[in-house]
């Protein structure tokens, strides 16, 4: 197996008496989609938040591209190449799709303290942003304010932003949520190609999508990893069936 | 053309009234008619207009505006009166901070400013100006008189207190300039403060044999009421304006017997004053205050100068003003080199007459008193 891009060891986080993350080991290698599944309240979002940097773990290490990133803040992790999309769509609603992506491009260029050049006449921002929008199939909707985009389009846009950030790994939190079957299908096809750009840690409830896309699956219950491995192994794992897939037999 | 026409009309009215000699005089009166200090401004306005009415001076036109006790508003009004209404004379301002905002730039623009109340030390000394006349006092005058009275009364340990602003420091400096005894504590309160529990506790503990305070307007009323409620028997001395007619009713019985200093009182026995007090009561149905008397004098000063000189000839008009050839309600009145009054300051006591609290003169504090800043003024 290739060297992991993201490597998590013995990560734990408690809220009072509740162990939301309990000694989790997890890694992400180039070219794969690694799905993180589990029932509601299993601690998936808590785990993603610790990786992205919005929550601090109590113990354990998070290594990204070989570097321990426990002490880095969200913007710093983002600049290292950790791209994230949110469970609840998180974009600048008054801006167009294009300007949302341009913000990411501008951050990559490390140049937010420029006060005079108008961004809408700045080819060094617009060109890369349009290129990314084309790749996610949003080029035609580039000038539409986010508030007027459909749910699926916003998901695509979030991924476009992550792409524009030049992310070396993606953390996708329920990208299929709230999408119709048509949208899910398009997005599945898109994610399938995206893994070649950078590996994806995918949190998803849509099991069809998970089984169609994932190379590996990790199952989280009450903050603990109860199983982890190839898709077929997980499908067969009796403990997973019992705890999660609701197989009572 | 318009100017000519006006002159013609004035010429006509001159022969009728026998008063007006020349151009009409336009007076802008900026005074405080709303907010905590409104009582002072209302008395000033009424006293001023009463004098014009009594003299039948219809060659003097007055525009009155409320400054709301806000300096920036006073400045705007002054600009408007100078630029739009083209007034020749400004007057009316009650509070020193508003005067400091308006007066220096107004007198630079060849406007005559006659102060009927505020007398900040800055304008009496090095910054005195030939276009600025103070018909009331220099702010320190009454405090100096209070210091002198405290000596006479035999007080050795006095607790002194004023708000933390220039007129407040001037007040305490003025008191100390004449007081020979020991100041046990000197306190500066906040401007606009309404609760004096803190200071009253310190007075109770100080062992002083008198308290001198300068707290103008509502501050003084609040202090005196709270002081009365706190049942301390240390006697209080204040400047006359803390016990003037307009606020005595609000202070209530706590004011009875308080000694204060003033250059005027309604029982001063001179012809001008007797006529003024009677006319004021007749016209407005209340006793006149210090502020009314000062504004009344101010208006009479303008009338006296207008009878001698044309406002268009500024130099002559200034000279006429400086002569102060009018009958003051204070009796003797003349200007010093810095255009501030040289006058006698009396000691008054708050008494009850016919169920109304008022003041009675019980002695003289300082005779023919001139302010301490006159020497710094380069005018002759």
């Amino acid at each position: 197996m290739a060297e992991p891009i993201l490597d998590i060891r013995q990560l734990s986080k408690s809220f009072g008496a509740l162990k939301a993350t309990d000694g989790v080991d997890l890694d992400l290698v180039p070219g794969e989609i690694h799905a993180l599944i589990g029932p509601n309240g299993a601690g998936k979002s808590t785990l993603i938040n610790q990786i992205a940097g919005t929550l601090r773990p109590d113990t354990g290490t998070i290594r990204f591209l070989g570097q321990v990133i426990n002490d880095l803040k969200v913007p710093e992790r983002a600049r290292l190449g950790l791209g994230r999309s949110f469970q609840i769509s998180s974009l600048a609603p008054e801006f167009s799709a294009l300007r949302n992506v341009m913000l990411a491009v501008q951050s990559v260029q490390g140049s937010s303290f420029r006060f005079f050049k108008p961004v809408m006449r700045d080819a060094s921002l617009i060109a890369p942003a349009m290129e990314v929008l084309e790749r996610v199939g949003l080029a035609e909707r580039a000038r539409i304010p986010v508030a007027e985009l459909s749910h699926g389009e916003r998901r695509q846009l979030e991924i476009a932003i992550a792409l524009a950030l030049g992310s070396r790994a993606f953390l996708l939190d329920e990208p299929m949520a709230g999408m119709g079957p048509e949208g899910s299908k398009t997005l599945t096809g898109f994610l399938d190609k995206l893994r070649e750009e950078a590996p994806i840690l995918l949190v998803e409830h849509d099991m069809d999508a998970v089984f169609a896309l994932a190379d590996r699956i990790t199952v989280l219950v009450y903050g603990r990893v109860i199983a982890s491995g190839k898709v077929e192994d997980i499908r067969k794992d009796p403990e997973v069936r019992k705890a999660y897939l609701g197989d009572e037999q | 053309m318009k100017k000519l026409l006006t002159a013609g009309i004035v010429g006509l009215s001159m022969s009728v009234s026998g008063l007006a000699l020349a151009d009409d005089i336009k007076v802008g009166m900026i005074t405080t008619l709303s907010g905590g200090g409104a009582g002072l401004g209302i008395d000033a306005r009424d006293g001023f207009l009463l004098a014009l009415q009594m003299a039948g001076a219809d060659n003097i036109e007055v525009v009155v505006e409320d400054d709301g006790q806000r300096p920036e508003l006073a400045v705007q009004i002054a600009d408007r009166m100078i630029q739009n209404d083209q007034v020749n004379i400004l007057t009316g301002i009650i509070f020193s901070n508003l005067a400091m905002a308006v007066v220096p730039s107004a007198v630079q623009q060849d406007i005559i400013y006659l102060s009927n109340n505020a007398g900040p030390s800055a304008l009496a000394g090095a910054q005195c100006h030939e276009n600025y006349f103070n018909v009331a006092w220099q702010n320190d005058n009454l405090h100096e008189a209070a210091g002198s009275y405290a000596n006479e009364a035999g007080y050795e340990n006095v607790f002194i207190m004023a708000p933390n602003y220039p007129a407040g420091t001037d007040a305490l400096t003025g008191f100390k300039r004449f007081f020979d005894g020991n100041v046990v504590n000197e306190i500066y309160t906040q401007v606009g403060q309404s609760d004096y529990a803190n200071e009253i506790s310190q007075i109770r503990d100080s062992g002083a044999d008198a308290v001198f305070f300068f707290l103008p307007g509502g501050m003084g009323i609040s202090f005196m009421r709270q002081y009365d409620q706190s049942e301390i028997d240390v006697p209080v001395i204040g400047p006359g304006f803390s016990f003037s007619q307009d606020i005595l009713a609000a202070v209530g019985p706590g004011a009875l017997g308080v000694i204060n200093t003033s250059q005027w009182n309604k029982d001063l026995d001179n012809e001008a004053n007797v006529a003024f007090v009677a006319a004021f009561q007749e016209e407005y149905g209340r006793l006149p205050s210090l502020y009314a008397s000062q504004a009344f004098d101010t208006a009479n000063l303008i009338i006296s100068a207008a009878a001698k000189a044309d406002i268009a000839d500024l130099e002559a008009f200034r000279a006429a003003l400086k002569e102060a050839d009018f009958d003051s309600t204070r009796g003797d009145f003349r200007f010093g080199n810095n255009n501030h009054p040289i006058q006698t300051i009396y000691v008054r006591e708050v008494v009850e007459e016919d169920g109304v609290l008022t003041n009675r003169i019980i002695g003289t504090a300082l005779e023919d008193h001139q302010d301490a800043y006159a020497a710094d003024c380069s005018m002759e």
């Binding site: 992205a52 919005t54 803040k73 913007p75 983002a78 600049r79 994230r84 949110f86 998180s90 974009l91 600048a92 609603p93 008054e94 801006f95 167009s96 294009l98 300007r99 949302n100 341009m102 913000l103 990411a104 501008q106 951050s107 140049s111 937010s112 303290f113 420029r114 006060f115 005079f116 050049k117 108008p118 961004v119 809408m120 700045d122 921002l125 304010p145 932003i161 950030l165 | 709303s34 409320d66 300096p71 400045v75 705007q76 408007r80 630029q83 739009n84 901070n97 400091m100 905002a101 220096p104 730039s105 900040p120 933390n164 602003y165 220039p166 007129a167 420091t169 500066y188 906040q190 401007v191």
Partner: protein, 328 residues
């Protein structure tokens, strides 16, 4: 660039403001020149606030602090120029000056430093806390100016003769209007440039969605602090001009009513709109002058109008004239 509706509204407003004093002189009522100057200066102060409040979503209820400090810089430097005594900082001494350009630079620097200090503490908070903290800091400067014995305390400080600008006579009301008007236009150009720049993009994005800004790797608080400082600087410059207009500074320039008025100007004109502050200041000063001339109770009616604007007519005058704002 094609002219959209907002551009037309903006140009009309700019021309209207320019026309007021010119017409006033024709009618021989020079006071209207002073009135128009007041409009320009208040608009400038509100342009400053609009940067923080409109673009950055930082509801500062304490911008009077920068306005007043700018005013005091003008007052104090002029005071020392007049008296001939230098300002004594113990270790070194600085002479006073009555040259406007120097005064402006100092006013901008000093108010910027104050904004840096206040902003550094306040920006850590958000929502109501931010409103209250900026208010409380402004109150602190108010009480400081009020009770510090040097420079007049509550009495304020007079500038005996208006400060000077090389080559022109600032004592002429029209000349001074042109100076203020030119600075206002310059500030509007700066505002537009910042709004359309990368910095402006990050600032506006931080207002819309703070999490998003962090996730793309931008430190929102640093952007905000920078915007807050620039905002304070512009308002501080306006304060220096205001002091010279009135030839007087006092703690009332620092009062919370002043801070409230700046917010009112922006809302009346239109939040985050380039010419919102200009429209707001023109409306406000006109309202004050016309209604104030008719009734002493004008503030009562101002209250009713404000309430109506907030409850019914969001978007202000520019919003009403030019329709909803657009972001490219």
């Amino acid at each position: 660039m094609t002219m959209n509706r907002e551009t037309i509204v903006n140009i009309s407003l700019a021309l209207l403001l320019l026309a007021i004093p010119l017409i006033a002189l024709q009618l021989n009522s020079p006071f209207y020149v002073t009135l128009a100057t007041r409009m320009a200066i208040l608009a400038l102060a509100a342009v400053g606030l609009n940067l923080a409040l409109g673009l950055g979503g930082m509801v500062s209820f304490g911008h009077a602090a920068y306005f007043g400090v700018g005013g005091y810089v003008a007052g104090i430097l002029a005071h020392h120029a007049f008296s001939g005594l230098p300002l004594d900082f113990g270790l070194f001494q600085v002479p006073g000056t009555n040259m406007m350009p120097i005064i402006w630079v100092v006013a901008i620097l000093v108010s910027g430093l104050l904004a840096l200090f206040i902003g550094a503490i306040s920006i850590r908070t958000s929502g109501v806390y931010f409103i209250m903290i900026t208010l409380a800091f402004a109150q602190m400067t108010y009480y400081f100016a009020n009770s510090w014995p040097a420079y007049g305390g509550e009495d304020g400080l007079s500038i005996f003769v208006r400060n000077q600008f090389p080559g022109v006579n600032t004592l002429r009301p029209l000349t001074y209007f042109f100076i203020c008007y030119a600075i206002l236009l310059a500030a509007l150009v700066l505002f537009a440039a910042i709004r359309d720049s990368r910095f402006g993009a990050a600032l506006q994005a931080a207002r819309q969605n703070e999490v998003r800004v962090a996730t793309v790797g931008i430190n929102a608080n640093r952007i905000r602090l920078a915007a807050f400082v620039i905002s304070g600087m512009i308002t501080g410059l306006a304060g220096a001009l205001y002091a010279d207009l009135n030839r007087f500074v006092s703690p009332s320039m620092l009062s919370w009513h002043m801070s409230g008025e700046f917010i009112v100007l922006i809302i009346l004109g239109g939040v985050a709109r380039l010419y919102g502050p200009v429209a707001g200041a023109m409306l406000f000063v006109m309202f004050e002058f016309l209604l104030g001339g008719m009734t002493d109770r004008w503030q009562f009616f101002l209250g009713l109008v404000l309430l109506g604007v907030v409850l019914l007519a969001r978007g202000g005058l520019v919003g009403w004239l030019a329709g909803r704002a657009r972001h490219g």
